[in-house]
Symmetry: C2
Subunit: 73 residues, 2 copies
């Protein structure tokens, strides 16, 4: 995955929210990549749930159940 | 968390990448929220690792180890 859908810039803000003073550009990119990978996994599961419910639209409930499944909670 | 750092708009693109035709606005918001929550958890862990290594800057290696810890891999 070379081009990310999730922007790198907000990752700096996210890390600063967690207490960090500085975040390297490589670290911000890594975090965007990690979150994008998880996001793709969750939305793939969510899509399966939507299809199973005979819908073409992913709804909030699909994301919720998919998140629990992907994160194993 | 009312205001999200991660933008909602790219979540539609993320879900479409996973095969979905349509994504409700509530679902896109839910996905942004979920990814932001995970991002905050990972960056908090990453910050702890940086501090432990006597650094003030979060580096890519901190994100990698924090991700493994948070996702339990």
């Amino acid at each position: 995955m070379n081009e990310l859908i999730i922007a790198v810039a907000p990752m700096h803000a996210l890390c600063k929210k967690s207490g960090a003073e500085r975040v390297s550009e490589a670290a911000a990119k890594e975090l965007a990549k990690v979150l994008e990978d998880i996001g793709v996994k969750i939305s793939k599961e969510a899509f399966d749930y939507a299809v199973h419910a005979k819908r073409k639209t992913i709804k909030s409930e699909d994301i919720k159940i998919a998140t629990r499944k992907v994160l194993g909670k």
